[in-house]
């Protein structure tokens, strides 16, 4: 009885607010490993935008396990989601679960990490574009010489994508001898303390020959900086990604060159809009920003909405403060006066 009344009221409300709400969809998202700084922001942006559009969000966290993710996806399907967002922990291993969703008629959007499947739509900051942005920023300050590569977790496709982007830029220069990669290491689980130990050992092996460190994210960059400080290598060109508060602070202090900032709120909103478009039966391919990713090896073509990261350097830190990503106080913590323009006001 009560339930019926509630439904009635809801329908009345729906009529009142227009036809849109009648199409209210349940959107499910399966996180790979929620326990990193950025995903909290992702979820918030996603949830806010979906609510705005009158939809509902269900989430599940696979905590870094492919098997758990498969179970999570089945659980979300069982709870009746209409659209499924997936951040694949292992983007290969997750395919069977994704296929099950597609078989059930639930459209799947690969969120942030590309899942190579013709019927999956991909939206995310393309790791390849991130890698390119990192390499370009370092090349600007250090166009030649000895590079060290601190790469992410070897099991993570995303790390390979970033690496691929980096090599797109510096590969040709390595060929012609302008740049020499004197050391490179994958980093178990992207852990900063592992990156630190690896960097220390690389400094031992290569000493002062290092001219630049192409590091794949900000967390590992903190380990690299700690290792370089001890060895007295201050101010070497160093890259990162994610726009961590600590990294932005390092950029202001001059111990990190750049971070590839993925304003994940843009991504979250974008994904929410795509889910909304699916719920309303629109043709995604006709939306602005749509493109096709082709994998010739697998013979796969899939719809993609790649987002370009923003390269943040000491020159445009203001951008992040304006976006509300960090506060001026966080950026300027411990920055000696007279060294960074942004902190002078």
């Amino acid at each position: 009885m009560k339930k019926k009344a509630k439904t009635l009221i809801l329908s009345a409300l729906a009529v009142a607010t227009g036809a849109q709400a009648l199409l209210a969809a349940t959107v499910g998202v399966s996180w790979a490993r929620f326990q990193e700084e950025r995903w909290v922001t992702d979820e918030k942006a996603l949830e806010e935008r979906l609510e705005e559009l009158g939809h509902r969000l269900l989430t599940a966290d696979a905590r870094g396990s492919s098997t758990r993710q498969a179970a999570d996806i089945e659980g979300l399907l069982a709870r009746g989601v209409d659209v499924l967002l997936v951040v694949g922990h292992d983007t290969q291993a997750v395919i069977p679960a994704v296929q099950r969703a597609l078989d059930d008629g639930v459209p799947v959007i690969a969120y942030e990490r590309q899942i190579k499947h013709p019927d999956v739509t991909y939206v995310g900051f393309d790791p390849v574009l991130v890698g390119r942005a990192q390499a370009r920023a370092l090349l600007e300050v250090q166009p030649d010489g000895n590079y060290v590569l601190i790469k992410g977790g070897q099991q993570d496709q995303y790390a390979h994508g970033t690496y691929q982007g980096q090599m797109d830029e510096i590969g040709p220069l390595v060929e012609d001898g302008t740049i020499d990669i004197i050391a490179e290491q994958w980093t178990t689980d992207w852990k900063p303390e592992v990156a630190q130990a690896n960097m220390e050992n690389i400094i031992t092996a290569q000493g002062d020959r290092i001219d630049a460190v192409l590091c794949s994210n900000d967390g590992m960059a903190s380990g690299v900086v700690a290792a370089m400080e001890q060895a007295g290598l201050v101010g070497l060109p160093l890259s990162g990604q994610d726009g961590d508060v600590a990294a932005v602070n390092r950029i202001a202090r001059g111990s990190q060159t750049m971070t590839a900032w993925k304003d994940v709120r843009v991504l979250g909103r974008r994904a929410a809009d795509l889910a909304d478009a699916i719920a309303k039966g629109k043709d995604l391919a006709s939306l602005p920003g749509a493109t096709t990713f082709t994998d010739e090896e697998l013979g796969i073509e899939q719809l993609a909405f790649p987002l370009d990261p923003t390269t943040i350097t000491a020159n445009n830190l203001e951008l992040m403060i304006e976006a509300g990503w960090v506060t001026r106080e966080q950026v300027c913590r411990g920055v000696p006066p007279g060294t960074a323009e942004i902190c002078e006001s």
Binding site: E37, W186, T188, Q196, E200, G334
Partner: protein
């Protein structure tokens, strides 16, 4: 007397220590040859000492836990949580300029670690839940809590004073102090060995071999630490603070294990709980104390790691428990309880870290490194089993 006879007269425990020391030297020499002389460079020795210290420190506690026939799977998570508590309090909560900030947060961190240890020890000893279950739950709970209180954020930088614990620029003793500390350590060490020889606890060959190895190692390490110059100076770094903390903690704990009633009780509890209880050993309090100590050591490890990284991150210390347990086992701790040595555990930690460091120096990939260390773990226990069966 031939070498063979000398070896046969050795106590099995002493034999294991000497074997570990010998393997360490072999590993070092091999990697030095493979890396073209890099391994024995001052910088590498300094880094190796710092990198090994945290694992070795936790291994000291883990050896005791294992001797009581328990296990602690939560050490990585406890380290992560206490590190995060210190980071948030020091960087976000308390004023950044206050001089009392870092000493207070340090104290809170150490207390938090001890309380976590007491809690887990209470569940194991007084409630009777197996330690595997308690600490497996702890692994999940404390890692989750770390994330909850940090919301995934990284916190940085720490106060300058706090950074004395992580080695490097602020955390090294300097040349003169290092020689003094080294001299004191040598006197204590040789004194202890001589005392054991007199009381009959150690045989003459062990005293000679062990004393020679330990003195040579101490002098060599200090020489290396001092030869590693601070950037743009000719002043040597000297002994890194993490190694000093490890030495102090291990000596202190070792004294209790060897010279206080609680040490015998720890071994008794692990060997035969019921018998120990019947003769009047306070078995539950012993287990409680061991877990509390483990928690405290996790907190000290957190201080070293965060101070060194100059950041508190959510995944700090993940999978650390595996390295720590591996080091304890390589060092001769038996998962059946009742057997294990602190010094062995420390040597085990150095063996693991030396392998890892050496392989990075010669450019071996991380996956191959894991495989090799896995095999070394099996190999160490295998050799041990053969030795036990023979004696």
């Amino acid at each position: 007397m031939s070498w063979h006879d000398v070896l046969r007269t050795l106590d099995p425990r002493h034999k294991r220590l000497l074997a570990l020391g010998a393997s360490l030297v072999v590993i070092w020499v091999v990697f030095d040859l493979l890396s073209g002389g890099l391994f024995f460079s001052p910088r590498n020795f300094y880094n190796l000492a710092v990198q090994s210290s945290t694992v070795a420190l936790l291994t000291v506690g883990m050896v005791l836990v294992i001797i009581t026939r328990n296990i602690d799977l939560s050490v990585g998570s406890v380290l992560g949580l206490t590190g995060m508590v210190i980071a948030i309090l020091q960087i976000e909560v308390f004023p950044a300029a206050a001089g009392w900030n870092w000493p207070l947060t340090l104290a809170i961190g150490l207390i938090a670690g001890t309380l976590i240890g007491l809690w887990q020890g209470f569940l194991v000893a007084y409630v009777g839940i197996p330690s595997f279950v308690v600490t497996l739950a702890g692994l999940l709970i404390f890692r989750g809590l770390t994330f909850e209180i940090s919301q995934g954020q990284t916190f940085s930088p720490f106060q300058a004073g706090y950074r004395i614990f992580g080695g490097g620029q602020q955390g090294s003793l300097g040349e003169a102090a290092s020689w003094i500390v080294g001299g004191v350590a040598l006197v204590v060490l040789l004194g202890a060995l001589a005392r054991r020889l007199r009381s009959g606890e150690a045989s003459l060959p062990f005293t000679l071999l062990g004393g020679l190895f330990a003195s040579a190692l101490t002098l060599f390490m200090i020489y290396q630490f001092n030869a590693y110059d601070r950037p743009r100076t000719d002043l040597g770094y000297g002994i890194p603070s993490p190694l000093l903390l490890l030495t102090l903690a291990a000596t202190w704990i070792g004294l209790f294990v060897n010279r206080a009633p609680v040490g015998r009780h720890v071994y008794a509890v692990g060997q035969n709980l019921e018998a120990a209880r019947l003769v009047g050993v306070p078995v539950r309090r012993v287990v409680l104390k061991v877990f509390a100590l483990m928690g405290l050591l996790c907190a000290v490890g957190a201080v070293i790691t965060t101070s060194r990284l100059n950041a508190g991150t959510t995944n700090l210390g993940t999978l650390l428990e595996l390295n720590v347990i591996a080091a304890a086992v390589i060092g001769g701790a038996s998962l059946d309880g009742g057997r294990g040595s602190i010094l062995g555990g420390i040597l085990g930690a150095f063996v693991i870290q030396s392998l890892d460091t050496g392989m990075v120096l010669i450019g071996v990939s991380s996956s191959l490194r894991q495989i090799l260390i896995g095999f070394v773990l099996i190999g160490a226990v295998w050799v041990d089993r053969i030795a036990v069966r023979r004696s």
